[in-house]
Amino acid sequence: MPTQPITPDSSGYYGDYGGMFIPEILRTTFDELIAAFYKAKADPEFWQSYVEVMQNYSCRPTPVTPLENFAKSLGGKFQIFCKREDLNHTGAHKANNVMGQGLLVQRMGKQRVIAETGAGQHGVATATMAAKMGLECTIYMGSVDVERQRPNVFWMEQLGATVISVTEGTATLKDAINAAMRDWAESMETTHYVLGTTCGPHPFPEMVAWFQSIIGQESREQMLKINGKLPDRIYACVGGGSNASGIFLPFLDDNTVELVGVEAGGHGLESGEHAARFYGGTVGVAQGYKTYFFQDDEGQMMHTHSIAAGLDYIGVSPILSHLHDQKRIRFTAATDAAVISATKLLIRTEGIIPALESGHAFAAVVEEVPQIPDGTQVLINLSGRGDKDIFNIAEAIGDEKWQEFLKAKVMNQRN
């Protein structure tokens, strides 16, 4: 069972960040969830059952793969490894969180789950968990994301979930979260809200980080086994912060390990069209918690942009905000263009197709090559696989044959 090197205070705060800014109607539900979570957290059998499920259903432990060709193509005298969260069932680290929360739902005796989704990865993972565990499932998804991620919508529906397209606000992830919160304010007696990342009111950041820390816990053992030492640097992309928290936190007390979080640089930080909260954000309170938000000077949330739907979000984990202020984690951003190019390089040199979200971590490494000292061992969290992004990647690359194929498909459907 992993020990958490960082836990919130009794009000759910990590330093200045986090807390529980919830409508009073949900207070009792949160109290019950906190009690159930802490009971499970203190119970070694619960963690054991979680690990077993992840082994039998989701390919854990996922391997650490040395990326010799990729490193060589960058011309540096360093080694790069990646943690293969893409090999999880349903193709991303999201599986860790949903299966963990699913086990908790079984303990709490609820029959229905709801979730928000941006890229659709968390939606598919939740729908999968619900199918496996026999739970009713509703997924809220911004209508813009429904457009961007149709294949995931298709699979969620096949898995038996009801997908509700949210048209309010910017019709993206943040609006899906509001919609899920509203559902929960009415359905809490029978329903658990499977929040998909290390955001939202306490205890979600702590709970999601706990389940995701299986990534870092395994990585630690694997790196020690491969190299006899810990990595020098770890890179992870940061949307809400769950895959980053998962790989970072078990290394938090290892001061020699540099932790680098990579946010979505979109069209470039100067363009204003990005989702780098630690660059353009200020501290605020929304969606139930206090953190850095992408907001204007009157506290209204602003539009974010990223080529990766999973990073296109206004807020960021309070755990990461705290560690940002503490300077324990360094944050940087990768632009859409740099991500496409790093993604192509990884595909060509290693035969691994990363999600565009994960591509951000690789792009940051590519960008920082000149500053990486010889002999450095770099670990990258490959949070998910890229199959889901085929439409976006093909469009970004401008692959004509793919466009022909799409046209032909549409014609066939019409006939």
Binding site: M20, I25, A185, E186, M188, A286, G299, Q300, M301
Partner: protein, 269 residues
Amino acid sequence: MNLTKYLKNRLEPSQGATGLKSTKRKILLMTHVVVGYPSLEANWKMLEAMGESDVDLVELQMPFSEPSADGPLFVKANQEALRNGIRWKDYFDLMQRASGKFDFPVLMMGYFNTAFAMGFENYCANIRKNGGEGFIIPDLPLEEYGDLFELSRKQELDPIMLCTPTNTDERLQKICAQGSGFIYCVARKGVTGKNTDLDQSANNFLQKCRGYTDLPLALGFGLSEPQDLRKLQGKSEIAIVGSALLKTWEAEGETGYRKHLMSLAAARE
């Protein structure tokens, strides 16, 4: 103004008290305006109608981009108001005009990030300066008030606390102990804008709150018709009507809105 006294004064005395005029009301009416939706001009017409029907209390909602405790109609209203370019200044200008012109007290209603971004001290000072009497923050639990309690007392503002039927007795007691002005009782689970059955469980809930406070009780979420107010007489001191009136404005315009409002106002006696 002492809000609690004002409210109690407008109500018929409970049985046993003497010497008060019979024109007094059996229940009071609090109405709601989302500032900037459909427009500031329309808001003013709504407020004029409220003035004419002698509404007892009005909450002015500051729009927010993430109105997570609101239902579809108010979500749209928040969003459109922001699209109309409503900023703090527009909001407080309207508050000042309203408090200057009408007899009813006005309250600030809005999500916590506005208070946080403004700074608690400015937040309270701005409400006071523009004639508000208190504020309602639906996503701020009492644990997170910090020095907002003290600062509001300094400006003689009432922070209005919310009680809900899912709260434990212990929690209700704690919330009521911090209450000021009146207590906002949320009639049911869910968000704004759906009908509420004023059934036995709502009564039990109100009675429970009554046990923890001497402040007037306001019941809100889902009230729409005069008969809702009549049913509530003797159970809560204030009935809150929000979405239902806005819905009428959308469907029937100003004329329908006035008619609806008058019928609600008449149901107080």
